[in-house]
């Protein structure tokens, strides 16, 4: 865990030192490629997971419930904050 965050910060440090150099532009572009590879490998993991495949509809339903309620929570807070901001502005 720490090593993951450490790698992120190592990248930040390297990126900062190398700012302006041309190769840093590649780093941003290669992120998409790596995400594709990561998702591909994750897909393989899912495909080989018998228990998961048997419960696929449950997984989908759970994901839907979590995403919508999480989004709803954020939206509610965002709406409230915006309202507060507008109220302050009109005082």
């Amino acid at each position: 865990m720490i090593t993951l965050i450490g790698t992120l910060f190592a990248g930040l440090f390297i990126g900062f030192l190398a700012r302006g150099r041309r190769w840093t532009l590649w780093a941003g572009k290669s992120v998409s490629g790596t995400v594709y590879v990561l998702l591909f490998l994750m897909g393989i993991g899912v495909g080989g997971n018998r228990e998961l495949l048997a419960n696929l509809s449950a997984v989908g339903a759970e994901a839907l419930a979590l995403s919508l309620s999480a989004a709803a929570g954020s939206i509610a807070v965002g709406a409230w904050m915006y309202k507060k901001l507008l109220e302050r502005g009109s005082r």
Binding site: L12, V35, Y36, L38, G47, L66, V77, A79
Partner: protein, 208 residues
């Protein structure tokens, strides 16, 4: 949108391949995804660290802007907690771990798969990771699809909040379009702040 479809495509291709018994074993282990994850962290770090524009943006940040990502995080976690009441298969902390992805589907799912494996076993951890993957993907797509409606009924901030981490990249274009261009910096700061909190929060909830 296009990149979301590409991601879905790669994932689906992997799924199909995963069902084939003749697939070489080394592709199935946890080592390759982990290596890819470290590579991703390095790349994200380098691209953020070398971005001169980002530095300018962060320098102009007002401290009170951090209220929005904090609010998004709180709202998300409360929402996930509410959903966990109805989800019988996973504990409340597992649901919160999924919610802590804030839309960052690739990182959150891989982290959960890895962190939950010793506790739940490979199959169940993989299942939770897939819930995290799908749920965070759905969050991004939901934000993209309903952007104009979100702004109309809930205001400018709500759209940024809905996007979570994706407000810094994937949903930034719709935020600029529907919440307005002056929201761009806030959306980026919002996304970056949440981006950093994902690994900490996911790990924290996975350990409970």
């Amino acid at each position: 949108m296009k990149s979301s479809l590409a991601v879905l495509g790669f994932f689906t291709a992997g799924c199909w391949l995963g069902t084939r018994p003749e697939l070489p074993e080394f592709l199935r282990g946890g080592l390759l995804p982990l290596a890819a994850l470290y590579l991703l962290m390095l790349e994200v770090g380098v691209s953020l660290g070398s971005d001169a524009k980002l530095k300018e943006i962060l320098r102009s940040v007002k401290l009170r802007w951090l209220l929005l990502p904090a609010g998004t995080a709180a709202g998300t976690l409360l929402g996930a907690l509410a959903a966990s009441v109805f989800i019988t298969r996973w504990s409340w902390s597992e649901c919160l771990a999924v919610g802590s992805g804030f839309g960052y589907y690739s990182l959150s799912s891989i982290l959960i798969a890895r962190l939950k494996e010793p506790v739940l076993g490979a199959q169940a951890a993989g299942a939770l990771a897939t819930v995290a993957l799908l749920s965070n993907m759905i969050r991004e797509m939901f934000t993209l699809l309903f952007a104009p409606l979100l702004v109309r009924f809930f205001g400018k901030f709500a759209l940024v909040a809905a996007g979570g981490v994706t407000s810094m990249d994937a949903t930034l274009p719709v935020i600029a379009r529907y919440s307005g261009k002056d929201m761009t910096f806030l959306a980026i700061v919002h996304g970056v702040t949440l981006d950093f909190s994902v690994p900490f929060l996911v790990a924290f909830f996975c350990s409970l």
